[in-house]
């Protein structure tokens, strides 16, 4: 079982709630994915559409909410969003996102560390979204991050784990859970991250924009389990030299 802070999770697949065609599709896809922790964002209420409320659609007994600070461009904006999240959601859990550049949506290492430090002091359970930077990962865990969330590739690109060597180092050195986030575009990408030893993965776009989000949610669930099981079961080593899978003896009669 995965443990983050004082909570344990059976599922190692965290779900995002953005980009779904409808609340119905979102609910069914999250259900199929088996996710127990899901991210949500904070935005102004649409006053012309007061009933558009995600909390009305999701059972908080079933899903542990992980509010994110998406949209924050520096530590100050992120901290403001953190307090709003705590007030509306009655939760001190937070996926910290500080992305100053809307072109790349890549995280700012300096502001992310600064905000993590302050929010941890303020009692938040902070899971920072970060570039796949092994040294930054050590520093974030030193200031009290409950987990680290290195990116596989830029948000929404579906390119998979392009940061393989860095993520391998992060996992090897981590004392807190490592959750690979962003860019996982196919179940094989999620399985590969888990085989590397990641503790969990977060997937949103790849499920939400799939032709059939519900079946894709299920596919990711299976792939994450497969990857984790493989990691625990001990994968064979890769080599360059061929090695027969059938016996090499008992063939004399052929020659």
């Amino acid at each position: 079982m995965l443990q983050i802070a004082d909570k344990t999770f059976r599922s190692r697949l965290f779900g995002g709630t953005g980009k779904f065609a409808s609340a119905q599709v979102m609910k069914a896809a999250l259900d199929a994915s088996g996710s127990e922790m899901i991210t949500v964002a904070l935005r102004r209420v649409d006053l012309s559409n007061p009933d558009d409320d995600i909390m009305a659609n999701l059972d908080r007994e079933k899903y542990w909410f992980l509010p994110n600070t998406s949209g924050a461009r520096d530590a100050e904006e992120a901290i403001r969003l953190a307090h709003l999240a705590r007030a509306v959601g009655n939760t001190n859990w937070l996926k910290l996102e500080v992305t100053p550049d809307p072109r790349t949506l890549l995280p700012d290492p300096i502001e992310t560390l600064k905000a993590t430090q302050l929010l941890v002091k303020d009692g938040f359970i902070v899971l920072p979204y970060m570039n796949a930077d092994p040294i930054l990962s050590l520093r974030l865990q030193d200031v009290g991050a409950a987990a680290v969330m290195p990116l596989g590739s830029p948000i929404g690109t579906n390119q998979g784990v392009l940061t393989r060597f860095q993520v391998e180092i992060i996992i090897e050195q981590a004392k807190v859970p490592v959750v690979v986030d962003a860019g996982l575009g196919a179940p094989s990408h999620a399985a590969a991250a888990m085989e590397m030893g990641a503790d969990a993965v977060l997937v949103n776009t790849a499920i939400a924009v799939a032709g059939d989000p519900v079946r894709m949610g299920r596919a990711f669930a299976q792939a994450v389990e497969a990857g984790r099981t493989a990691y625990e079961s001990g994968l064979g080593v890769q080599g360059k030299k061929a090695a027969a899978s059938s016996p090499e003896v008992g063939l004399d009669f052929l020659r």
């Binding site: 995002g16 949500v40 935005r43 209420v45 995600i54 909390m55 998406s70």
Partner: protein, 66 residues
Amino acid sequence: MIIICNGEEQEVAEGCTLSQLLDLLQLAPDTVVVECDKKIVNRIDYETTVLAEGQNLELIRFVGGG
């Protein structure tokens, strides 16, 4: 009188409380958080918070996100 609600002018009655505003806007209090002039208002104070001319309110809630 006029207040600013999520960036837009909103006509409300004199002495209108925050919870009355939420009723008016058909918003369930426990699904939103309210910032009044940049300060978060506790839910328990919605009843007793009387709005004043020109106040700047932000009504925020959870939406889908990754």
